[in-house]
């Protein structure tokens, strides 16, 4: 199969697959991530495109630039609703805002799947959810950290994303993972705004205020990349730096030894899975439910082996590993 067996969504959250009615002979599918500003969603999109090319399906991407621009994203969904689109693969930072519009899409007979999510109870019934468990991923990296560094007391700093579901879940997963372990002492937790610049500033400042920090966990790879520059500038090459995503650049930084490890969520593969499921849904062969895509913790050795399979990555690594 092209994807793991779906798990059923919660009671009432599953829209009936047999009500899907494609209007075009060549399927026309809209991929609508919350923003173009994250490589991550571009990587998912590349996975989607790869499958679309194989299957001979039309797919286009429409997204606002900023993930904060939810109003802009809703405007785009509204605009897409007036077109003859057969399916929408979407991701959003605000499911309640999207719900009324996606309900219209479902009512019109479009296939509607959500990407990069683990929400089993989307506020309006949709056809499927594809993604990894945010909380489990960062929980895993906390476990990994305990296994590798947990034998002596550690001072830990956390760089959060801008507040919201993703930040809460990822930071929450990490905190759950280290809970109860006396050696892990979280001394500071500040906002890195999801980007490299913010991660760099946050890294500088927390290393200033806590020069004895041993470990930094950031809620995504961009922020930990930013923090790594700060650590380097302050001569702290010994510090343990943990991220989340499995972004190609993040993996390359791990391979180069600038970052310690990350949660690899394989966005490219997630996109492929989502597209297969969507096409199946349009063909009536998808049962509905949540497809959990796998995650893994990659340190230097792991990152190199992932980078050795560039066909599963987007963007491509900058060199051959």
């Amino acid at each position: 199969e092209n994807y793991p067996t779906p798990l059923p969504l919660q009671e009432g959250a599953q829209a009936p697959i047999d009500a899907i009615s494609a209007t075009n002979d060549t399927f026309r599918i809209a991929y609508m991530p919350p923003a173009t500003e994250f490589n991550y969603y571009i990587a998912i999109g590349e996975g989607i495109k790869a499958v679309a090319a194989e299957a001979g399906v039309d797919v286009f991407m429409l997204a606002p630039q900023s993930g904060a621009d939810i109003n802009g994203q809703m405007g785009m969904i509204q605009d897409v609703l007036t077109q003859d689109v057969d399916a929408i693969i979407f991701g959003t930072h605000d499911e309640f805002a999207a719900a009324p519009l996606l309900k219209q899409a479902v009512d019109k007979g479009m296939a509607v799947l959500m990407i990069n999510s683990d929400i089993p109870n989307f506020p309006t019934p949709i056809h499927g959810v594809v993604g990894y468990s945010q909380r489990n991923g960062t929980h895993k990296i906390a476990d990994w950290a305990i296994e590798n560094y947990g034998d002596k007391p550690l001072k830990v700093g956390i760089i959060e994303g801008q507040p919201g579901y993703h930040s809460t879940e990822r930071v929450g997963g990490f905190l759950d993972g280290i809970e109860g372990n006396e050696n892990f002492d979280v001394v500071v937790s500040i906002d890195g705004k999801w980007n490299v610049e913010g991660g760099n500033t946050a890294g500088m400042d927390i290393l200033q205020s806590n020069p004895d920090l041993d470990m930094i966990f950031a809620a995504n790879d961009y922020m930990i990349i930013g923090a790594s520059f700060a650590a380097k500038a302050l001569g702290r090459s010994d510090i343990v730096l943990l991220g989340n995503d499995g972004d190609t650049s993040g993996l390359e930084e791990i391979a180069a030894g600038n970052i310690t490890a990350t949660v690899n969520t394989s966005p490219f593969l997630m996109g492929k899975a989502a597209m297969h499921a969507t096409i199946d849904a349009l063909n009536g062969t998808y049962p509905g439910g949540w497809i959990e895509t796998p995650t893994s913790i990659e340190d230097k050795a792991g990152a190199i082996s992932v980078l050795q399979e560039p066909e599963k990555l987007f963007p491509q690594p900058s060199k051959e590993y």
Partner: protein, 333 residues
Amino acid sequence: MKRIFDTQLIGPFAAMVIVALVVALTTERFLNPGNLSNLSLQVSIVALIAIGSTIVIFAAGIDLSSGSMVALLTMILAQVLKFMGIPLVLAVPLILLAGGLLGLFIGLITAYGRIPSFITTLAALIAFRGLALTFNNGSPIFSLDPSLEPIFYGKFFNIPLPFFYLIFFYALAAFMMNFTKLGREIYAVGGNPAAAVLTGINVRKVQTTTFVIAGFMTAVGAILMSARLNSGSPNYGQTLELQAIAAAVVGGASLAGGRGNILATLMGAMTIVIVQNGLNLNAAPSSIQNVVLGLIILMAVGIDMWRVEISALMARIFRRSSPPQSSNIEKED
């Protein structure tokens, strides 16, 4: 009536029609009835906020705070609805009041503190988003009141409600600007504040009032935003202030104050939204959308600035007569 629909409307109206024609010709589904009612939804929030931004501009001020104020107000609305259990019928007027008060605050600092509005509203732009983040630990508050959504998505005779809000508030604003003492005073203050003082106009009060109006209209926009997204978030409304100003400017309002037609702002907002809609319907990437929007702003203002030269050029081309050479006159007042 002649007063409201004056010559200042011709340019923005023509621009809107031309843009609509171009989009209609290049985009299949643009003229679907579904898409047309969609347009009125898309334009509503920014166009309503732009009423306030434009009136502030008429009085020679500028309001950079509206985007952040939207974020703050959606958070207050969400807080009030979800965690304080205040019913919607009370919450809505409360938010309108809060918007007016925030505007009053900005207005008082600007007018009585003699601080340029660019600065006060820049400070507010930064501070309001900070304040919005203090609610609910900075996390968005989702899924508010089920009766909130119909405020935005509801229909009346199959026409979306926001269409009626637009008509109502623009009619009110046009009436105010053209037929009331306050409207006249706003233009006077924008045109020449020193002269306004000497004619007994309470310039500071008038300036403050424009910010109260802007705050109120921003609250209207915030309520619609919350209704549309059924949530409040400290991230909402980013760059909305620039979009609202862009609407005013594309509509021909002069940033120097004193001049402009409020209805032209609606056309400016429509022009921008039609272009965005056209680009969306053609699945243009957001990079292109930004570039096109930038060009539209430039062109709209350019056409307005060069009106004399352009009409002279047109005259020369079409009439083949030779009027006095066109000149580069510096306007000295």
